[in-house]
Amino acid sequence: MFTWFHKLASPPYFYKFAQYVAPWTGWITLLLLAIGLYGGLWVAPPDYQQGDGFRIIYIHVPSAWMSMSGYAFMAIAAGIGLIWRMKLASAVAAAAAPLGASFAFLALVTGSLWGKPMWGTYWVWDARLTSELILLFLYFGFMALNQAFSEQRTGDRASAILALVGLVNLPIIHYSVDWWNTLHQGPTVFVGTHSDISTSMLIPLLVMIAAFMLYFATFVMRRLQVEILRRERNTAWIKELI
């Protein structure tokens, strides 16, 4: 097991690994998306309060979750790259960042499109909204710093420090924002609650979440191939590959 991990962590091996695995996960993602969308957009009954407006949930919630777990994933990978000087981990972080940022963006956009019919406004300064916005900016900062240096190695290390500082800060941000809001209740009331969500609504949601996770995995691998190729362009194995 350990040796397998060790092997996987070597760029040439991982490059080939991704070459084989990514198509498979890609097709499964597509399948899950199809099932989830069919279940969510067609099968599930309208919400008794929100009507068909609630169907945004099937992209909103998976995006929101992936944006948050994606950040943790990215920061941990970057940290491993920084501390153990593992090149592949840094590449993983660099590959994950744009995807995580996309999910954060999607959570924001779908959320505000959902907010208009539910709350009457696209945007309120609510706790979750605010912390999601901040998360997006954390991603932007990471990406900007990662690409800002002429030597990729430097960019990796600098952005890893930022990601780790951000990781420590993330719970603080989350709770501060939460707390700030409860003290200062705006016009917001969250409508959908978990308990009374029916099974026919829940199952598509779970399927969509699984699909988004696999999507993330697939395209992290794809991006990683690009990153590996870019970073290792001067090595012997790349020359052999070509």
Partner: protein, 224 residues
């Protein structure tokens, strides 16, 4: 020995600051301007101003802290002193911490001192001023430390001025929220020990962790 080093470094940083005392005024001017500008769009109803005062003062203090930060290590990088700092046997963490603290002394502290005056202009009552001051005293060093992390990470970049706020403002949000909240609660006559303790805890956390991030950032910046 460390003692002597500490004193000598603080002395040098203060000396430098004194030579450039002009630059120290900039954040202060910013602070005044931002606070003064707000009531402009509003009707100058004291009751309304009063409730806005905590937020305005905190935002102004935050911005004033960020504006001058870019140059915190920039000149060291450009004139080659940063290499000397990194290559000195004194731990870089210590050198960096001293630099940040002197920076706070000459930019953050004046803002804190001026805050009551600006509060008065915004009709903020004297009874809540203590909380505002304590909050600023605990919060602005955190802002300086976080800012220094960003400054260290971007010092090697040719035009970091713009990137820097992007990096640090998201991290600064909790300080702003707790700070402004505590002042607002004091205004409402509530018990403020909660947010102030939290600010203190954040300060302790940052004070212990940030020096490592700063030193790491400086080392990385020189690698290039």
């Amino acid at each position: 020995m460390m003692d002597g080093v500490f004193g000598a470094l603080v002395r040098r940083d203060l000396q430098l600051a004194y030579r450039r005392r002009g630059e120290m005024v900039t954040p202060l001017m910013f602070f005044i301007m931002v606070t003064a500008l707000f009531p402009l769009g509003l009707n100058p109803d004291p009751a309304l101003l009063r409730t806005l005062a905590p937020g305005v003062i905190w935002v102004a203090a935050l911005l004033a802290g960020v504006v001058g930060l870019e140059s915190l290590f920039k000149s060291d990088y450009e004139d080659g002193s940063l290499e000397l700092m990194v290559l000195s046997p004194v731990p870089l963490e210590l050198i960096a911490l001293i630099r940040v603290l002197t920076h706070w002394l000459i930019t953050g502290l004046p803002v804190v001192i001026l805050a009551p005056l600006m509060g008065m202009l915004l009709a903020f009552p004297a009874s809540a001023m203590g909380t505002l001051l304590t909050g600023l005293l605990l919060g602005t060093p955190v802002l300086s430390l976080l800012g220094a992390v960003g400054a260290a990470l971007t010092v090697g970049l040719r035009r970091s001025g713009m990137l820097l706020p992007l990096l640090i403002l998201p991290l600064a949000v909790p300080v702003l929220i707790f700070g402004a909240r505590s002042a607002a609660m004091a205004l409402a006559g509530d018990d403020v020990s909660g947010p102030l303790y939290l600010l203190g805890a954040i300060l302790a956390l940052t004070l212990t962790l940030a020096p490592f991030a700063i030193a790491g950032g400086l080392r990385v910046s020189l690698e290039n």
